[in-house]
């Protein structure tokens, strides 16, 4: 018998009797074609044995080392409190808050998440999270088409994370490419008829882009400007909403989510009030109950697939409530000053590393471009360098395949680790 079913033989007997059938097989009389065999799966393990396997396979991964990989997922500090809160059974084992009377915990936390996103982006409304950063970007592309009533066709540069671009394309949105030179995008010539212009800042190569230029160009072309921002950067950089962006999206992973080989993370999306009806996904709003008590509820449901079906903005229904909660708790712990400190410490350390590398004779690919905590360094053999780094107990940067290594430095890295990195690379690693 399976592990988590309470049924004793007597239970089964009594229930079959109440139903009026003889055997469990009878409950499947209407099933055709029936599967008659036994599933060819490994024999059932006890919890203890299964978790021993988890331990064994975990050791097959290289973890616990200083990580210099970024490119969309960052090795940042996750406070212990985050895990403690999100593992509370009431958060962990509840469903989408369709019954608000017994779901105020989830609902208020979503409301707080939306508020944080609005504050960071400088835009008026936010939804209750989308799957991840890449999907937030793709949903934003579709949203620009709905809002401009144009075909989904967006202008992006090489500065947009290529994985985000791939998801845009999967979502059947046409992509036209903007020129990208010396680490930044040239927005001077936005092609006609595009529904949206994307600007990622800091961009894939870590460089801060000119959102104001992007939004100016987009608006001149009758298109919308979508800014793609690392939420940590918004603690120190001007909010995209204040720079003319119509939509801001991004990946919330840096806000308290472990790397976990790529997920679950959470996307975020924000826009201005007048565009709210074109936002996909859930929105949580404030209201009152019968006694006048303040409470929260999912609202503007008319946009959603369960009401509008084929005419919905998106098929998104399940959201990332638990990871959004992680971001909410993380942000509460950090506060505006903590977020700023995370950003500043990362900037300081990344620039220290870049300087040390330059002092050791390596060239930055974009030496003039202003970067935050990620940069491209040119190395004679990136693959070899990464192998040497691993041997020295470090996970190197992303091999761009063209002689460049995209290096990310977070607040977690110590001077000792940065110096060791330089040492390995300088010794021909």
């Amino acid at each position: 018998m399976a592990r988590f079913t309470p049924h004793t033989d007597d239970d089964v007997r009594e229930m079959l009797d109440a139903i009026g059938v003889e055997t469990l097989d009878d409950l499947f009389a209407d099933v055709s074609p029936k599967f008659q065999g036994e599933l060819d799966l490994p024999p059932a393990l006890s919890e203890y044995e299964a978790l021993r396997d988890v331990d064994r396979l975990a050791k097959e991964n290289d973890t616990g080392l200083p990580i210099f990989l970024g490119a969309g997922a960052y090795d940042r500090i996750v406070p212990s409190t985050v895990g403690a809160v999100i593992s509370r059974g009431e958060f962990l084992t509840s469903y989408t808050p369709y019954q608000p009377e017994i779901s105020q915990g989830t609902l208020q936390s979503i409301f707080e998440f939306q508020s944080i996103v609005s504050e960071l982006t400088g835009l008026e409304v936010s939804n209750a999270s989308v799957y991840d950063g890449a999907n937030a970007v793709a949903e934003a592309a579709l949203m620009t088409a709905r809002l401009t009533k144009r075909d989904p066709r967006v202008a992006v540069s090489a500065g947009l994370n290529p994985r985000y671009r791939e998801v845009i394309e999967t979502y059947r949105v046409e992509v036209v490419e903007l020129p990208f030179e010396d680490g930044t995008t040239d927005f001077s010539e936005v092609p006609d008829g595009v529904s949206g212009v994307f600007v990622q800042s800091p961009n894939f190569f870590g460089v801060v882009e000119d959102i104001e230029a992007a939004s100016g160009a987009a608006h001149a072309a009758g298109a919308l400007c979508v800014a793609v921002c690392d939420p940590i950067s918004l603690a120190v950089l001007e909010a995209p909403g204040n720079l003319g962006a119509d939509v801001a999206v991004g990946e919330a992973q840096p806000l308290g989510m472990p790397l976990l080989f790529g997920g679950p993370y959470a996307g975020y999306m924000a826009t201005d009030q007048k565009s709210v009806r074109q936002l996909p996904g859930r929105i949580c709003g404030e209201t009152v109950d019968k006694d006048g008590k303040l409470a929260y509820v999912l609202t503007l449901r008319g946009r959603e697939q369960d009401i509008r079906r084929a005419k919905a903005n998106s098929n998104i229904c399940t959201n990332q409530a638990l990871t959004a909660l992680a971001a909410t708790v993380y942000t509460a712990l950090m506060g505006p000053e903590g977020l700023r400190e995370v950003a500043e410490s990362s900037v300081s350390k990344a620039h220290y590393l870049a300087e040390r590398l330059q002092a050791s004779g390596f060239r930055l690919r974009y030496p003039e471009a202003p970067f935050l905590w990620e940069f491209v360094v040119e190395l004679p053999d990136v693959k070899k360098a990464n192998e040497a780094l691993l041997k020295a107990g470090m996970v190197g940067g992303l091999d761009l395949g063209d002689g460049g290594m995209l290096v990310a430095v977070t607040e977690k890295r110590t001077k000792e680790e940065l110096d060791a990195f330089v040492g390995v690379v300088a010794n021909g690693g």
């Binding site: 399976a2 988590f4 079913t5 009026g20 499947f28 209407d30 055709s32 599967f35 490994p42 919890e47 299964a50 988890v54 396979l57 975990a58 097959e60 991964n61 973890t63 997922a73 409190t81 403690a84 509370r88 009431e90 084992t93 469903y95 019954q99 608000p100 009377e101 017994i102 105020q104 707080e112 508020s115 991840d132 791939e166 999967t170 603690a235 950089l237 790397l259 080989f261 790529g262 997920g263 709210v276 709003g285 109950d289 019968k290 303040l294 509820v297 609202t299 005419k311 098929n315 399940t318 990332q320 409530a321 638990l322 509460a332 506060g335 505006p336 000053e337 903590g338 900037v347 300081s348």
Partner: protein, 471 residues
């Protein structure tokens, strides 16, 4: 009217977390960037201490019900027990600390988990190829239909513009068809609540790309003609997609491939016990035939000798996620399946037993629109003159999370009850007792419910009319 938001609990200058001191003398932002690029006003975020954070969110959680606290028979959501062993697995630092872009050689343990899980889902579905990448059930649907789309595009068959969707379908199905640039066309039901095969024969033609079927359907009824349906589609060159939201009714009892299904999605957070987390994250892995396998998202995991690697399927639709998918949920589902092995069939047997028991006991008092064998869930209607909404809110006062209501749309005042296999007969008996009692409660009394919950009924219209979605 005061709110209780975290922001109200702070004071300027409070800090909830201490970071390590920056031990290098790197540069400052002012030296890198022009002033215009820098933030002028600090975001109005909470400034609170750690004890306040813990207390605030602990108390918020106590406003919630979960499977851990209450019976939660929410139809079509499979709110089964979430074993804590899965959480232990997902928190293992050897996985939690792994960056998604670490070279494959550094992540062989993670790749092995994914490869094994692919195999498990292939075995359960009977379909040979799997992608774990879709991040939720709805995205699994979309991935499946995009694969169908690309199959026809790559075949040069540009006339396939329609996807058929039964009237019982989840709202995501027609929305998915639209997102993939198909026209969704609704198809009606026969007297059992199943897809009407005669209507199908009429509707299917050379413009049909696929039918999206849910089996058992959202009335909890097994689509008994599924094999015939598949034949009709296949003869017309179209595909049968199966919405796997209800796979908890099929494990070890029915394999979609054998019924003619070409592509399907799983909800790991339903069938394989990964926690719902208040609405996510999930994982909407898909399985498909050899024909559709080349169209799967990038990447899939392959094994060569003792080495695991990522590969891009030849005609891949591309990526549907930034990285490899919700790996944490894969790890949980993998662990769950390993704890069951072939005993997965017992999961389905007990889920179906529980649902039929509820059906048998509620029948007579509640109306059962399709009163024959149900599978893992059962749709019922309140006694005459009673509203599903009122019964639902009444259940809250009895300590039960309400079933799904007003869905499926084809049943008036529908209440879709899915007990799942992890609930005991005693729990069902108590729940049934409450349902029977509510059937006798006056509508006036019911309209006041809930009175014992953290809030009473909400003014939902006001929330939309006076939208306030941030502090």
């Amino acid at each position: 009217m005061v709110d209780n938001l975290i922001r109200t609990k702070g004071r300027e200058g409070r800090r909830g977390y201490t970071l390590p001191k920056n031990d290098v003398d790197g540069t400052s932002l002012e030296k890198i960037l022009p002033k215009a690029a820098l933030r002028k006003e600090k975001p109005r975020l909470a400034e609170v201490d750690e004890p306040t954070v813990v207390r605030h969110y602990t108390n918020l959680s106590r406003q919630n019900w979960g499977i851990d606290t209450n019976f939660y028979p929410l139809g079509s959501c499979t709110m089964k027990h979430n074993p804590r062993a899965n959480e232990v697995a997902a928190n293992n630092p050897g996985f939690a600390g792994l960056h998604p872009l670490q070279p494959e050689a550094q992540a062989q343990g993670a790749l092995q988990v994914m490869h094994e899980l692919q195999g498990f889902l292939a075995e359960v579905s009977g379909l040979p190829a799997v992608s774990l990448q879709p991040l939720a059930g709805a995205q699994g649907e979309l991935t499946s239909i995009l694969m169908v789309k690309k199959f026809f595009e790559d075949s040069g068959d540009h006339g396939r513009t329609t996807v058929l969707v039964p009237s019982t379908a989840h709202g995501t199905n027609p929305a998915t068809a639209s997102m993939a640039d198909f026209k969704a066309k609704e198809i009606g039901l026969d007297e059992h609540g199943c897809v009407d095969v005669d209507e199908l024969r009429e509707l299917v033609d050379e413009t049909t790309a696929a039918l999206m079927i849910t089996n058992p359907n959202t009335c909890g009824v097994y689509e008994r003609n599924i094999k015939e349906i598949a034949q009709v589609l296949h003869e017309a060159g179209a595909f049968l997609y199966m919405d796997g939201a209800n796979m908890n009714a099929n494990l070890g009892r029915m394999r979609p491939a054998e019924a003619g299904v070409d592509v399907m999605h799983f909800n790991l957070h339903k069938t394989f016990s990964t926690p719902h987390g208040g609405g996510g994250p999930g994982c909407g892995a898909i399985a498909c035939s050899e024909t559709l396998a080349p169209f799967r998202p990038d990447p899939a995991v392959e094994k060569d000798g003792e080495t695991y690697s990522f590969v891009r399927p030849a005609q891949s639709i591309g990526r549907v996620a930034g990285f490899h998918g919700n790996f944490g949920q894969m790890l949980r589902a993998w662990n769950y399946i390993k704890m069951h092995g072939p005993d997965l069939r017992d999961v389905t047997d007990m889920a179906v037993l529980n649902a039929n028991y509820v059906r048998a006991r509620l029948g007579g008092t509640y109306q059962i629109p399709y009163d024959e064998l149900c599978k893992h869930e059962v749709v019922v209607q309140p006694p005459k003159g009673k509203k599903a909404l009122d019964i639902a809110k009444g259940l809250i006062d009895h300590g039960y999370h309400p079933p799904t209501i007003y869905f499926p749309l084809v049943v008036k005042e529908a209440m879709l009850i899915e007990p799942t296999e992890t609930e005991s007969k005693e729990t069902l008996d108590d729940f049934i007792g409450a349902m029977l009692e509510l059937a006798e409660t006056t509508s006036e009394e019911l309209e006041e419910a809930p009175t014992h919950a953290p809030t009473r009924r909400l003014d939902e219209a006001r929330a939309a009319r006076q939208l306030k979605a941030r502090w």
